[in-house]
Amino acid sequence: MTAEQEQKVSRRSLLKRVAGLVAGALLNQRLAAAATDEDKTGSRGKDPLMVRVTRPFDAETPVREFASFLTPNDRFFVRSHFGPPAPEQVSEANWQLHLGGLVERALTLRLQDLRRMEAVTITAVLQCSGNGRAFHRPKTPGVQWERGAVGNAQWTGVRLRDVLAQAGVRPEARHVQFQGADRPVVSSVPLFTRSIPLEKALHPDTILAYGMNGRPLPLLHGAPLRVITPGWMAESCTKWVTEITVQAEESKGYYMQTAYRVPTSPVELGSSVMVPVEAMVVKSLIAGPTEGEIVKAGPISIHGVAWSNGAKISAVEVSTDDGKSWATARLAGEDHPYAWRQWQHVWTARNPGTFAILCRATDVHGVTQPATSPWNPGGFLWNGYDRVAVAVRR
């Protein structure tokens, strides 16, 4: 398939997927937006992203965007510790992937080598571990993300295990380390070096992605190659990958041994065993109505998304009376193992006033989103009930 055909196909599938919940004018508007979706930033609409940190650039997606099944590339949240490397460093001409460590043969691969391998596409939620950090009490240090450091995209690339098989993994291997091309301003700052257990690395759904929503992976999202560990939080999804090292131990250094860790039980700092953040936790968000929206009394569409660690979502419930009673929402749209599931509930608002709408999801293992997440010193894994306040008018 030529790049152009690929693009057309992907646009068509994007159009199809976007058509889920929202009817009428809004849908048409989104279809038009999706049809012209490109990697440009900020060219369409207003406030495509909410900037949390100017430099290095960290920004979250306004939750109203989550009315779409797929989050467009230019509206997808952005997070890195040092910002992207210089574009020429990761250009197709210059970029190389080195694979070494506990392997039979060290390899150096170029993008064209990866493109010749079997391509796989996986639709998966990508979420920053700190998404919702701003809601933890007491407050914790770090980027004060609210609700939008998450998105759902189609990732295209090669299975990590196919690449590892070319090099031959030695029996003593237990972890696979990723190093990206991004560098801190000051060389005394530790590099963002991360590893995942070999079992996750060899999972057939763990991929090295060069495509995002049918387009080449944009620079801000890790061009030309990033790791995607479906069902796991985004710190395992190293961007701008240039080195893969198979090893016996977890990565050393700050970003694996100190940061991105949570206590095994919800207690105060330092008094518990800390383990790496890995899988996502069950969570749902309300994409509409939006916070502070004024709605007319009568039937009101409450809709959003829900996901877990790869386990299917079995139910989403909505409350419009501060949690006294819950109604079951209708699950809708596409159903993929690692993608989020869209849901909708029609609420008939009879009386004017101010209402808090709450939602909570439950996955097939019976795990339900809690009212408030257990506190942890890093402010990770927030998954408390989502909440939106609306004013109902006659």
């Binding site: 940190v53 290095p56 910002g83 007491p138 240090p141 000051v186």
Partner: protein, 192 residues
């Protein structure tokens, strides 16, 4: 400068530890621009609401990672940050004082009264300490543009304005570097 200090006091008066903030603000905010925004913009700092022990841990971590601050400066920053950006502080605070009144500064104070003669030999050190992290060793470029042989060196007005008031992701250095410092950096850059 009067505008800047005056505003910092008004802002501080609305906060719990107003006298502490007011007293520490000029030096602390200068340090924040000079030493912290080398690696990250100040919005990352001002969105935090942390108790003193966590500010202390954060500042110590940054010092360990290479932030060029003495122990005295680290202590000052911890006092200022925990007085201003404490857990009870309102969500929205006015931006740091040094951002205020840039236009006035530009008009009234941006250029020295008389010509300042830059010393290239001194400029090398000032550059290394303040600019190199972004503009690279020998001004050869890094996350900031290459300055060696840059056309901006020939447009002194643009050079001074950029250094004093910042541009794009470059922070303003007007409260950090003296006019002599800037002239020295300029003189040294011309030799590159």
């Amino acid at each position: 400068m009067v505008t800047v200090v005056g505003l910092a006091i008004i802002v501080a008066a609305q906060e719990e530890d107003a006298p502490v903030v007011a007293a520490l603000a000029p030096r602390a905010e200068t340090l924040l621009v000079a030493r912290c925004t080398v690696c990250h913009s100040e919005d990352l700092i001002t969105q935090q609401r942390l108790p003193r022990p966590r500010w202390k841990a954060t500042v110590e971590k940054m010092k360990q990672w290479g932030a060029e601050i003495s122990q005295d400066e680290a202590d000052l920053l911890v006092r200022y940050l925990s007085a201003r950006f404490h857990p009870g502080a309102p969500d929205r605070l006015a931006s740091l004082g040094h951002q205020v009144g840039a236009e006035e500064l530009l008009k009234e104070e941006s250029r020295p009264d008389g010509p300042v003669v830059g010393l290239a030999t001194r400029g090398a050190g000032v550059f290394q300490h303040n600019c190199q992290a972004c503009h690279g060793a020998g001004a050869g470029g890094g996350i900031g543009p290459k300055l060696a042989k840059s056309p901006i060196l020939k447009h002194e007005d643009a050079f001074w304005e950029t250094v004093l008031h910042g541009r794009g992701s470059m922070p303003a250095w007007g409260t950090v570097l003296s006019h002599q410092d800037i002239a020295d950096i300029h003189a040294w850059l011309l030799t590159r």
